[in-house]
Amino acid sequence: STIVLIFEAPKDFNFNLKPGQKIHFGEAVGSL
């Protein structure tokens, strides 16, 4: 199964992620 998030945000939105990384619920995806 997969979860896909699609959202609008200002241009300075930054992801705190690396492709392939393991993530847990509650951990940061990104912010402004």
């Binding site: 199964s1 979860i3 959202f7 609008e8 993530i23 619920f25 509650g26 995806v29 990104g30």
Partner: protein, 320 residues
């Protein structure tokens, strides 16, 4: 004896041919993936090898929905207490489940594999990050993330799918005819961009999902569809995979405009539950592939829709 041996040869030959071609194809695929992994180790980027149309068509002929429902039924059978520990232990060992973080660690308490699969976590196991506006809604592996460009989203790097096919026509808000592309129709504020993030949940992961931010859910769209595997290897192989599969799209708004969360089903994990939506029924034979069913959470009495706070329980995936 001679006649019998001739008959046997006629009967067996097609099987040999099938085994030979199937084995040869599997061997060839293995060799290809071995070669690619060698090149990747050397730092050479390999363009994804997409499935041919006939390969996708062949895969689509597999009755994945039927298999998924049968798998679901099987896993709802209550296991005798003596069998629970060995069955779940095998699952834990195979998929690397961390039972120390499960709310119920005693394996005998889970009546069947389905219940075990839906296990909850201890409250302190997943602290919700306060400093970031978007958090991960679930455990999993990040397959891809970034900006949406040219109305195309990437399921893994270099393998795209159409944003419009994935979300369906934009009918949940007032139609914005003056905007040209589907992507522009979703962006509500000037200067904003559209972003995406794909999280793959492996079989051993916690399979509930939560609200990734503070937002209002306005609309649900359920796409009945195939239930092909969504593991990263298949996502790399089949273009538009997420548009073929059964999924539930929740759309709404957050402080910066449009926000959506989509739960995509797979063969083993065919049904999706949204806790605040009792009408939703996924992986059901009464729905045919290729259609979609809409429900608006905005009513005359409730203009806000469903108010979700970051980390709130939103739904879960179920076996079959």
């Amino acid at each position: 004896l001679h006649a019998a041996s001739t008959n046997l040869a006629v009967k067996v030959r097609p099987l040999y041919v099938l085994l030979g071609t199937g084995g040869g194809y599997a061997g060839y695929k293995q060799y290809e993936s071995y070669k690619d992994s060698r090149l990747e180790k050397l730092g050479i980027e390999i363009p994804p090898k997409l499935a041919q149309t006939w390969e996708v068509a062949l895969y689509k002929t597999v009755p994945t929905r039927l298999l998924s429902r049968a798998w679901g039924r099987l896993n709802q059978v209550e296991l005798p207490t003596w069998l629970r520990k060995p069955v779940y232990s095998l699952y834990i060992w195979t998929f690397g489940v961390n039972m120390k973080e499960a709310a119920v660690e005693d394996l005998h308490q889970y009546r069947n594999l389905s219940e075990f699969f839906r296990r909850k976590l201890k409250p302190q196991a997943r602290p919700v990050c306060d400093s970031h506006s978007v958090i991960s809604p679930s455990d999993g592996k990040i397959l891809h993330f970034g900006r949406v460009k040219n109305c195309e989203v990437e399921q893994v790097k270099g393998v795209t799918y159409s944003l419009e096919s994935f979300l369906g026509p934009q009918t949940w808000t007032e139609n914005q005819l003056q905007k040209t592309s589907f992507q522009d129709q979703l962006v509500t504020q000037d200067g904003n961009e559209l972003y995406h993030c794909v999280i793959y949940l492996a079989p051993g992961d916690y399979h509930c999902f939560h609200s990734p931010t503070d937002w209002n859910v306005h609309h649900r769209r359920h796409f009945p569809g195939s239930l092909m595997s969504v593991n990263p290897g298949v996502a790399k192989w089949i273009k538009e995979l997420f548009c073929y599969n059964e999924r539930v799209v929740l759309t709404g708004g957050w402080k910066h405009g449009f926000f959506s969360l989509t739960a995509v089903g797979a063969t083993n994990v065919g049904s999706i539950q949204i806790y605040f939506d009792r009408d939703l029924q996924t992986n059901s034979p009464r729905y045919s592939k290729g259609s979609y069913n809409d429900l608006s959470y905005i009513t005359n009495n409730n203009q806000d829709g469903i108010v979700m706070r970051k980390g709130d329980q939103l739904g879960e995936f179920n076996l079959g």
